[in-house]
Amino acid sequence: MSQDPHRSAEMAEITSEPGLEKTQFRYRRLRKYSILLTSLVALTPLIAMTIINIYQYQKALKADMLFPILRQVSNTRHSLSSFIVERQSALELVIREIPFEELRDQERLAGALSHMKESFGGFVDLGIIDSKGDQVSYVGPYNLAGKNYRDQDWFHEVGLRGVHVSDVFMGHRGFPHFVIAVVHGLGEGDYYVLRATIDSDMLYRKILTQNLRPTSDAFLVNKSGILQTPSRFYGAALEQCSIAMPSYSTNSEVVELKDSGGKPYFLSYAYIEDTPFILMETIQPESFMENWLTVRNNLIWFLSISVILILMVIVWGSYHMVGRIREADLKRATVLHQIEYTNKMASIGRVAAGVAHEINNPMAIINENAGMVKDILSVSESFPLRDKMQKHVDSILTSVERCSRITHRLLGFAKRMDPHIEEIDLDQLLKDVLGFIGKEALHRNITVNCEVPGDMPKIKSDKGQLQQVLLNILNNGIEAVGNGGRIDISAEPKGDRRVEITISDDGPGISRNDLDRIFEPFFTTKKEHGTGLGLSITYGIVQKLGGQISVKSSLGAGTSFTVALPIENSAIRG
């Protein structure tokens, strides 16, 4: 039973809203901005803090690791330095305390060498060279007496500076060694030189006294990068070291370098004063890296999980928020649309009502005219075309009735288009309606009994339409019961949200078959004067008011209609 096809049209109109696609885009953009902005605000400080943390940790860890290395290098430099200075001082003592003449004596020189070997160690040989470069005296394992050094650089340097410490070299002796030479003046510009060869293995052993990690290395190089002691990873003594010379510094230093494979390592170095030697120590940053990687990984894990969680919350929040906004907008749009639609329908309704009223008056005149003709015909028996005329008049009257039915429906429709919700006292409403039809009941001696409990809640509904519903059902009842019949009306609340009005008569009842079709339009049992619309209109109105109507009947026992209505009516649509 589609009483209101306009409703499906309304739905179609709402869903085919022309701006909807654009709006969809607007919400997507809103969501995007919301996510971006919130993420930016939430994640930027977090990421910045993590980066700063990582940097600070790295710095602290590096400092922790480098400090002992520096100290070690510093210590080793000191011990190497004092090793050389000790021997230099010993030579200076010998050259100052023992006169030149005595030193020229091979035996005396051998005595000094053996003393020094005992006291200091590392001395290999000793030689006295006069200012012309001739080695005038020599003690040691090699036969170097009489060798001339005049053309050698070190001889000139020692003449100028008074002392000389040489690079490590092989020389005639066939093992790595270095030379310390000191000068003593003889007066009048003449001088002589005391020259000692020292086994550079002593230096190496000094370096080895520190416990190196398996991945670390420590060695000496000279200023041109030639290894002065053997190294683990950079070659044997007197080979060229692959590490570039670091810049000069009076202190111990650490620099971060990369090897040929691109792997980073730390180089700690120190220039040993007044010697050509540079102490170098290399450390693979693995152990440090291990700690560092754990810390960094933890930080990165923490950051990643935080970022994921924050993003999830932001995305969920944004979707949720924009969804709510959208819902609210949609609701508002729908309501606006509905108001507009209702207004439109209401004006259509008012126009329809006006038209129906206007038509009813001329209709009544036609009706009376036709009735008049019928009256005349009924008294003029001699009129020749009486029967034919009678037929035409009846046809006019039938058509008038049809028109009347149409305006009837139009008015009903108009009324439904323009609903007016107000608070209704059901007791009062029933009394009003009964007063309205009471005359007929009275004249036909029908007992009408109406019972409404005192605590009946007021309901919100359309008064006029509700009156129409009750009137239609009551009229049905009055028609059904004979003279002296009885109609019972009762109302009661059903739960918190509904009320039920029951109208029962003691008429002949309705057969099972008719009962099934009772709310169908144009179904009628009153062959002559029923339109078949009363109950179908009633059904439509009750549905419109958000309620239900049901009927129970048994032949011979009467019929009972029940109308259930909501107390709070939000369901009424135009």
């Binding site: 009813n360 009706n367 009256d375 006029g464 129409q468 004067h529």
Partner: protein, 143 residues
């Protein structure tokens, strides 16, 4: 007392005259008025068993007319006639004192029945009133 006397009030002159003649044909005495004011005048001057009153009229509408009619004659039987204006209006009219209600275009048989009912009721009221008046007179005379 067989002939009911009715007053027909409608702004459609043709309708009233037609209905009047049809009713007269059926033995009723009918007078007509084309608006509320005229109806009030007529009711002032004569007695009617029923007033058949159109609800929708220009100027003084049916409800207003009925109010002033009932002011003059509280026992007046008013039958409202309307082009199915609205149930709400009809209910309102009945609350204000109308005795009955009929939809336009009206079924003549129904109308006649309602007029007859109205007359019966009026007679009852009149009898009651006379009875009361008599009682009052007797009381005042000391009976």
């Amino acid at each position: 007392m067989a002939n009911e006397k009715v007053l027909l009030v409608d702004d459609e002159a043709e309708f009233t005259s037609l209905l009047a003649s049809r009713l007269e044909e059926r033995g009723l005495r009918v007078e007509t008025a084309s608006n509320g004011a005229e109806a009030v005048e007529k009711v002032k001057q004569g007695t009617y068993d029923a007033v058949i009153l159109d609800l929708a009229m220009p100027g003084m509408d049916g409800i207003e007319t009925m109010k002033s009619l009932l002011e003059k004659r509280p026992d007046l039987q008013v039958i409202l006639l309307t082009g199915h204006a609205s149930i709400e209006k009809g209910v309102e009219a009945v609350k204000l004192g109308a005795k009955d209600f009929l939809e336009k275009p009206a079924d003549l048989a129904k109308l006649l029945q309602k007029i007859k009912d109205a007359k019966t009721e009026r007679m009852l009221l009149v009898e009651k009133k006379i009875e009361e008046d008599l009682k009052d007179i007797l009381k005042s005379r000391g009976w």
